[in-house]
């Protein structure tokens, strides 16, 4: 398991994830990062311990006398068997696997530009478009700014921009005003999970080439 990720969600995101208050799109991305990052998993365990200790200290409320009997009855009736979990595709995070198995809008990649393909997910929320992006080896994407938030997690391969190289598991959050031009690594294609809250705006004259990027389709 790869544990040498360099870019992580910030502490507040992990806290909200641990408390269960983070929105769905961000939670998908954090869970994907956790799949690769043992140091964030260790942090998360400590945060979960805070939650569990707070729960233990919360005012207990008496349960009904027959509550246990009812639960045993349900267990014995056998209609509560745990549902079968979807099978893993290679080494992908569980949530991404499940989305790929159940919620792809199209079964095949769609071309966004000469170097970028996209596959969008239905995730049952209206705030973010959640999708996979595939950048071909050495592929350049248009330089762009962001009008809203953009979460990215590298799932396979690597890409770089003006600031750094991002490898498997790396978690990035772009905010309005962050202009960047991602480029796929030379040695192979790069697949990223992304959640985008608003259309990104091109800043280069060739920006019209990335017109399809401008439509976000939250599902």
């Amino acid at each position: 398991m790869i544990t040498s990720t360099n870019h992580h969600p910030d502490e507040n995101m992990l806290i909200e994830f641990s408390a269960g208050t983070l929105d769905t799109a961000a939670s998908i991305c954090v869970s994907a990062h956790l799949h690769f990052c043992s140091s964030c998993r260790a942090k998360l365990l400590r945060l979960d311990q805070v939650g569990s200790q707070l729960m233990s200290q919360a005012e207990p409320v008496e349960v009904k006398d027959d509550a246990l009997a009812l639960v045993m009855e349900k267990i014995d009736s056998g209609d509560n068997a745990a549902p079968k979990e979807p099978s893993f595709h290679g080494d992908m995070p569980f949530s991404v696997n499940k989305l790929m198995g159940t919620s792809l809008i199209n079964k095949n990649w769609k071309r966004l530009s000469s170097s970028v393909d996209v596959a969008r997910f239905k995730t049952g929320q209206d705030d973010f478009e959640v999708a996979l992006h595939k950048i071909c080896a050495g592929g350049k994407t248009p330089k762009h700014d962001h009008e809203g938030l953009e979460y990215t997690v590298v799932l396979k391969g690597s890409f770089s921009d003006e600031n750094a190289v991002y490898r498997e598991g790396d978690f990035l959050l772009r905010q309005p005003g962050d202009v960047h031009q991602p480029m796929g690594a030379q040695n192979g294609e790069c697949i990223c999970l992304s959640a985008l809250s608003a259309p990104i705006k091109p800043t280069s004259p060739l920006g019209f080439l990335m017109k399809p990027w401008l439509r976000i389709n939250p599902m």
């Binding site: 998908i28 311990q49 805070v50 569990s52 639960v71 349900k74 080494d91």
Partner: protein, 215 residues
């Protein structure tokens, strides 16, 4: 096909055996984890009843503490039932080297509570349940129950020492289930203040952890 593009030669580590043998001090250290292991290994109904007696009222309290959209009066009883059935069904997969029973049951309860509230307040089909975000690979370095119990005791002790406003914000986030943005609106504080207050509380707690760890 997208799925085939993503598939790669994975080297899945063999699933590590769950702790079957615990030394005596570990057994004493956390009776709840021990009971949960018994439920998982031998479908021990007595152990399950003990877990139910301990966690049932806590789970109901946890449901009552929720201040989320979708809250309904029967949430408490429903949550106790749903969580305890999950505990029974998932006990065989419980790994005491990843988390104590208390922490494990908290994560089940948190996920259940969110999913139950979402089902009440959301009309859209939700392909993912909160539980789906919590499938993490096993760690290379297991944590013994004794270590976990110690670290939980430290968390508990440091919670008791937090200043009131830090304690309040953690309760709002974890027990009431308020996002940072909701807490900010409710308390009439800027979002940045809520964020830093939550971080401050945890830094203070981690400081105590690290100080003790050096001893």
């Amino acid at each position: 096909m997208i799925t085939s593009t993503l598939r790669k030669t994975s080297q899945t580590r063999p699933v590590e055996d769950r702790v079957a043998t615990l030394n005596n001090s570990e057994k004493r250290s956390d009776q709840w984890s021990q009971l949960l292991i018994s439920v998982g290994e031998t479908r021990d109904r007595k152990a399950f009843a003990q877990l139910f007696q301990h966690f049932g009222p806590l789970l109901k309290g946890f449901a009552h503490a929720s201040r989320n959209e979708g809250w309904f009066p029967g949430l408490g009883d429903d949550l106790v039932q749903e969580v305890m059935i999950k505990v029974w069904n998932k006990a065989a997969g419980y790994n005491a080297e990843k988390a104590s029973a208390t922490t494990w049951i908290y994560t089940v309860a948190r996920n259940c509570r969110i999913d139950m509230l979402r089902r009440k307040s959301n009309t859209q089909h939700l392909p993912l349940e909160n539980e789906d975000f919590w499938h993490e690979p096993d760690e290379e370095t297991p944590i013994s129950l004794l270590q976990q119990k110690r670290s939980e005791d430290r968390v508990q002790a440091s919670l008791a020492q937090l200043p009131k406003e830090q304690d309040q914000i953690l309760r709002k986030v974890y027990l009431e289930g308020k996002s940072h943005a909701e807490a900010s609106a409710e308390l009439g504080l800027p979002l940045g203040t809520v964020k830093s207050r939550v971080r401050l509380a945890l830094q203070k707690m981690q400081l105590i952890v690290s100080k003790e760890a050096q001893e």
